[in-house]
């Protein structure tokens, strides 16, 4: 296997994007030729060599090509986009769209990634050792065909909207998952090692979701069906199996309805406890009495402070981002 090493040499002023960091594009090219490939920052076009030092050369084919990005690329988008074979290794963090539309090969990120990694994946193996943000392994906007195949692994935590519209393939999350996991799923398999926050399998038609750490709040449209022992990654575990989403359409096979299935590891029962759950609405920041007094003092010479002035003061002083309506009410109460 021929290795191409990309060493980040300059931090981009904005964000770089390029469809060219992929074994399919690097194959058959020398370091010089790879350096000439285009990267974009907003409406400007540059060369890969403007931002990376390039060593080595591409293999004869994509399958013979390995790319190692030796550094932080947290401001570079689309690494490994559409790759069909070969390997890519990122020895740092990366931005959005890592492995987007990936069809084959192996992509490893030793750090964390932003959102949209592995969208519309059809094959290959994408592994992220750190955390990932939102829409991991999801479909592109509007497309009912999400991930079709391949394996997507995030060892850390993931954000929301993971696996939306998944049709096939496997997503494995080592840590926790935020809301809206596998929304509109029509196939595929998702395993969550930690806790899933909620709205798991919302509007799911078909598919399997395993949550080992439990779900904080199950959808009311799922019904408990039975207990089952399943072997996952070589380990046998007991699960409570829920069928649903009962608000969604389902197909039939041999006269039986084929539901989506959520497997909750027994022992990790619904993590919600009655009465203690916070209202899910955005935790509205509120000033305590001392802060309100401090603010009143700061504005005592200003009879008619604008919402903007007060909002900025609160943000700069206390670090709270209050909504204009809240600030407006605070001003009214301050006047009184």
């Amino acid at each position: 296997m021929d290795i191409v090493k990309l060493i980040p040499s300059k931090v981009p002023e904005l964000y770089l994007e390029t469809e060219h960091i992929s074994p399919d594009v690097f194959a058959g090219k020398t370091a010089q030729q790879i350096g000439e490939l285009h990267v974009h920052m907003g409406n400007q076009t540059y060369k890969l060599s403007d931002y990376f030092t390039i060593e080595g050369k591409g293999g004869a084919t994509a399958a013979d090509t390995k790319i190692v990005i030796a550094g932080d690329v947290s401001k570079v988008k689309y690494i490994g986009m559409k790759m069909t074979a070969g390997e890519v290794e990122v020895l740092g963090n990366a931005d959005m769209y890592v492995g987007a539309w990936m069809a084959g090969g192996k992509l490893l990120v030793k750090g964390s990634v932003d959102s949209f990694a592995g969208i519309a994946m059809t094959g290959g193996e994408l592994v992220i050792e750190g955390n990932a943000k939102n829409y991991i392994g999801a479909a592109y906007r509007g497309d009912w065909r999400g991930m079709q195949g391949g394996k997507l692994v995030v060892k850390g935590n993931v954000g929301s909207d993971v696996g939306s519209n998944i049709n096939g393939g496997t997503i494995e999350i080592g840590g926790n998952a935020d809301v809206h996991l596998a929304t509109h799923a029509e196939g595929g398999k998702i395993i969550v090692g930690g806790v899933a926050k909620g709205r798991v399998g919302g509007q799911m038609v078909k598919g399997e979701i395993y949550v080992l750490g439990g779900v904080e709040r199950m959808m009311p449209s799922y019904k408990y069906d039975h207990d089952e022992e399943v072997e996952l990654n070589g380990k046998k575990m007991n699960f409570q199996v829920y069928y649903g989403d009962l608000g969604e359409r389902h197909g039939k096979r041999k006269g039986e309805i084929v539901y989506g299935k959520i497997f909750i590891a027994t022992g990790a029962a619904e993590a919600e406890s009655e009465g203690k759950t916070e209202a899910r609405a955005e935790r509205r920041a509120k000033l305590n009495e001392k802060q309100v007094a401090q603010m009143a003092e700061a504005f005592k010479t200003n009879a008619e402070p604008s919402v903007q002035e007060v909002r900025t003061y609160i943000y700069d002083t206390f670090g709270f981002d209050l909504k204009p309506m809240q600030v407006s009410r605070l001003i009214d109460s301050m006047k009184r």
């Binding site: 904005l14 409406n43 509007q203 199950m218 449209s221 019904k223 009962l246 900025t312």
Partner: protein
Amino acid sequence: MSKTITDVICPFCGTLCDDLIVTTDDDGKKILSVDNACAIGAEKFLHSSDHAHRVTRPRKMQEDGSYKEISYDEAIEHTAQILVKAKKPLMYGWSSTSCEAQSVGHEIAELCGAIVDNTAAVCHGTTLIAVQNVGIPSCTLGEVKNRADRVVFWGCNPAHAHPRHMSRYSIFPRGYFTGKGHKQRKIIVVDPRPTDTSSLADVHLQVEQGYDYELLQALRAAVRGEPLMGDVIAGVPKEKVYEAADMLKSGRFGVIFFGMGVTQSLGKDHNIDAAICLTKDLNDYTKFSIIAMRGHYNVTGSGQVLGWQFGFPYSVDLSRGFARYNPGETGSIEVLKRQEADAVFVLGSDPGAHFPMRCVKEIARLPSVAIDPHITPTTEICDVHVPVAFVGVEVGGNCYRMDNVPIESRKVVEPPEGMMTDQEFLSAVLKRVEELKAN
């Protein structure tokens, strides 16, 4: 003496009432009174007429934070320069101007490789995402007036935000098949709080805040005759959920109106997605539609013009020379938060008041310009403020109502002496940008 102008369109909210009667002085310079408008609409007309308090010329921020008046030519030069120099300018707003002006703005954006975004980014953009996922069974507001006997207000409070909506379309009017008006309509309001709108409801479901998605899926299951788990679902007793499902199915024409209560609360587009799926399911039993309560009077128009010119309704990234779209990456909030833009152009909206503070700070930091008839929190953080004539008052132009019906707004009075319109200003900027790009 005075002049009376009828059939005037109100340029404030998405209800886009077109039956206003405006009386002006004989010169056509001052508005004396406005009939039929709600308080907010009337205020817009009357307030605009107070030229003494209008900013009539562009202003530029000085080193000490004060503003100095500059000419329109200087403002045009400033705007063209910051847009042409930028690698990724953000052109935001558009919701309070005409389609004709929006179209010129888009030409500038295409030439400069900018991101074009409108207020849907903080409002009904999530609705647009949901529609992209599951479609939307809908109808015009006249259909509601003529046929509806089941009306649901989910996460919206028209009594406050769209004051004449209920009397013109959704609760009180007597239409062709609805001669008994509100007496033959059943109103369901879904809102965690009691509101002025819920006080008119036959059924008020006080959903647990942040659990609308769960309630919607439960309703879908109930509509399908499926069992539900638990006695209380998202704050609503199970029996009430079944009752609501039956009430919806038993009507002959239902409609769901929804607003920020669900577009911007947890789940955002998923909430709307589920509401649309519920509407679609109900069409297996009766006739049902769903309509978004759009806020600004022409945010819908911005989405339409962006749609036919670029193929996407908001958060459109033109920086690569061809249009791309992905809210979460190309939307104004994240672009500003991640510091991905290097110039900001705002027209016809007020992000300074509504965006998260981090984004507001970013607008203040970057080379910027704000085009707005008023002084607003946005104009006070931008380098240059360019005042323009009020669309729908001082200059006409096409607008689109919340149900996508296009209505042409009119000019009823003259703008202050020497003031440009959005379209004139943008055309001048476009010309200058073309000159700069040619060199």
